[in-house]
Amino acid sequence: MPVPPLPPAIEVVGLHKRFGDQTVLDGLDLVVPAGTVTALLGPNGAGKTTTVSILATLLAADGGTARVLGHDVATDPQAVRGLIGVTGQLSAVDPLLTVTENLRLMADLFHLPRAEGRRRVAELVERFGLGEVARRRGQLLSGGTTRKLDLAMTLVAGPRVVFLDEPTTGLDPRARHDLWDQVRVLVADGVSVLLTTQYLDEADRLADAVGVLHGGRLVAHDTPAGLKAAHAAGSLDDVFLALTAPVPSADAA
């Protein structure tokens, strides 16, 4: 019997969001097929974090629809929350709890049975190489280790869609590479990822598709190679500069 096709991990249609008189999202359309990584690029203030906040049920949109694995974020936020994991720009680690305690907190809040929770925590400690610091408090971890713990906490409940909002900002090159490896492991497990980033090489290395946000909508959406070819550019940097000229009315690509 054929398996019914999976709905897209993320399906955004005509999304609008204003803050006061400032339009941040102006009819955004975006589809992230299940099991793939899409990177959102765009200048500061282009609406990347706003998009993630709406999809993560933190913020209500003013118009349009957003679905995560078929569940509307506006009408069924609880179902969405059961499916997603979010690692944001702020470190969401309790500084006074140890690495293990932080992970167990997530296991408890997702109501994992005690034995399963412990197994899951041990597994993540192993996978993220956190064994040596397992009893160390959050406040005493390095930036790179904090970010690893942050992502590990996001994964405790086994989310099917993961949002990474500028996950490697401020990390040294080794920590960035470690984090990229973890994202690849996720994708190999069939998890869908929406990544926002300022680092174009990050998008180039991780993403199946890249969307460029400018003026509140997508001005380009293609594979990294496709974008570079279309703009006769050697790197995504050049594509980015070509597409996101600072004059808001100069959107025409």
Partner: protein, 276 residues
């Protein structure tokens, strides 16, 4: 690609009691990890107690009751007079640190993370409240013990102690829901530590340190009608084993229930307000 249909969410049903237990455990653990904050909570009322008894008490004692000689007798009388207010200030001291803790949660990433999970919002805030009430009871017991060591002798039986504990739980709930709301509404940790100063100052404008009938009329009217006065008078009656006027006790209970509900609604609204 895995063919399993991954669309059905993990069946995470709302389980507020379970989440409340988890979040309370976290808050209590944080208190153990940050003992200096707990020390400050107890130190503030104890320093006030020592200051008011050993510096002002000799003179003030003669002012709170008729026929008291200034000096040692004054100090003993004044100690007994201000213990209720000092216990109430222990609770406001806990409230202040609770507001700071909540603001740290809100401005850090942890609350953003929790808001993207199916966790019941009431549990995220309620964990702070329950832990703060536990902390209030422990700190108030410690401060009461210090007062006893200084020569204070409450006249309270087992039933009175039970009533006293119950009343302090209710009072603690009111204060901490308010302070949780202040912490959740604060734009920064700094402002979260300033707003509750109001709660710390209010007991002075009541019957805690001097009888209200010695105050000028406008101040007296305020003192008689603000929530801390009936609360302090209820604690005073329970500790002294003297009957508490039914009007005073019910006014105190009414204020506590009312403030707890206001604090809870305010905290919930502040928690839900999106922050980006």
């Amino acid at each position: 690609m895995a063919a399993a249909t991954a669309v059905v969410p993990r069946p995470v049903t709302r389980n507020a009691p379970r989440d409340l237990t988890t979040m309370t455990r976290r808050s209590l653990l944080r208190m153990l990890r940050y003992p200096s904050l707990t020390a400050i909570i107890v130190a503030t009322p104890v320093v006030l107690l020592l200051l008011f008894v050993y510096v002002f008490g000799g003179a003030f004692g003669a002012g709170v009751a008729a026929g008291v000689t200034p000096g040692a007798e004054g100090r003993a009388v004044y100690l007994a007079y201000i213990v209720p207010a000092i216990l109430v200030m222990t609770a406001t001291s806990v409230a202040q640190s609770t507001a700071i803790n909540v603001a740290m949660d809100m401005t850090g990433g942890i609350v953003t993370r929790l808001r993207t999970t199916p966790v019941a919002p009431v549990a995220v805030l309620g964990g702070h409240v329950v832990a703060a009430v536990v902390q209030t009871l422990l700190a108030a017991s410690l401060v009461l013990g210090i007062a006893v060591a200084l020569g204070y002798r409450p006249d309270v039986d087992a039933l009175g102690l039970l009533a006293m504990t119950g009343f302090f739980v209710l009072f603690g709930l009111a204060l901490t829901w308010l302070s949780v709301a202040m912490g959740a509404a604060a734009r920064s940790v700094e402002s979260a530590s300033n707003t509750p100063m109001l709660l710390v100052l209010l007991p002075f404008f009541g019957s805690g340190f001097v009888p209200v009938d010695t105050m000028p009329t406008p101040v007296r009217l305020f003192a008689e009608h603000q929530p801390f006065t009936p609360v302090i008078e209820t604690v005073r009656g329970l500790l002294a084993g003297t009957p508490v006027g039914a009007g005073t006790a019910w006014t105190a209970v009414g204020w506590c229930v009312g403030l707890a509900v206001v604090g809870w609604l305010w905290a919930r609204a502040a928690y839900r307000r999106p922050r980006t």
